[in-house]
């Protein structure tokens, strides 16, 4: 028998918080449940977008951090 899954289960699945067994069951359920499959596609789509929307700091700040680290290394080598 195929278990019934909720939207929250799909979210846990998308964020890799389901056990291997549960994941297989969700995948099986998605094959027969169009609504669940649509939910999965939409949530995964938003998740990918959130990854792509990550912001980059300026090179200046990154260099400041690297220089700070190097300056500590120089001090400890003296």
């Amino acid at each position: 028998m195929i278990r019934t899954f909720t939207q929250d289960d799909v979210i846990r699945y998308v964020y890799h918080e389901t056990s291997e067994e549960e994941s297989k069951e969700i995948e099986k359920a998605m094959l027969c449940d169009a609504e669940l499959q649509t939910m999965y596609k939409e949530i995964s789509g938003v998740k990918n977008r959130l990854d792509a929307a990550q912001k980059a700091p300026s090179d200046m700040v990154v260099n400041n951090i690297l220089n700070y680290s190097k300056s500590l290394n120089l001090l400890s080598n003296k």
């Binding site: 846990r12 949530i43 789509g45 938003v46 929307a53 990550q54 700091p57 951090i65």
Partner: protein, 199 residues
Amino acid sequence: MEKYKISDSKLVSLYKLGSEEAFEQLLDRHKFRVFTTIYLIVKDNYVAEDLLQETFIKAIRTIKEGRYNEEGKFLPWILRIAHNLAIDNFRKEKRYPTVILEDGSSVFNTLQFAEDSIESAQIKQDTHVKLRQLIDELPDAQREVLVMRHYMDMSFQEISENTGVSINTALGRMRYALINLRKKMKQYNIAYDQNIYPR
């Protein structure tokens, strides 16, 4: 989560031994996630950059002084430092509010660096900027869970422990956040890839 050839803990060990290249790799791997987490809390680019610097300086000192806990994982640890600094700053700013523009910079920054305005106009076209604005517009409770789960990579169990709500409530907030974002993305015509198949 991305998989790397050399683990973070190995890089930390190499850095302790004096390898600056190892630290550069750590910074390169995690700067986007740490910066985005801070930015989504403070909503000001310049403040977020200051806090990013502060976060990594704290991390550098902790590692160099031998106070880094080897058993923990680097990313959750540094994200926790970033989150705490951002929250402290957010609370301070609440007492002295600044006007934040659509692109996330304050009026003060725009006045001080007038040459940024052309760039800002271009950035406004960027759908990523729009998406970050949509995240900003989420109710606080939903945004908090979204940032913690998505950018800080905390489990729903950890979120529940840190925010004092049940796992189901945290999951529910995440569900509303994602559904709200999806609706708004459709409304603003922000494309998202639906051609995804089960992992």
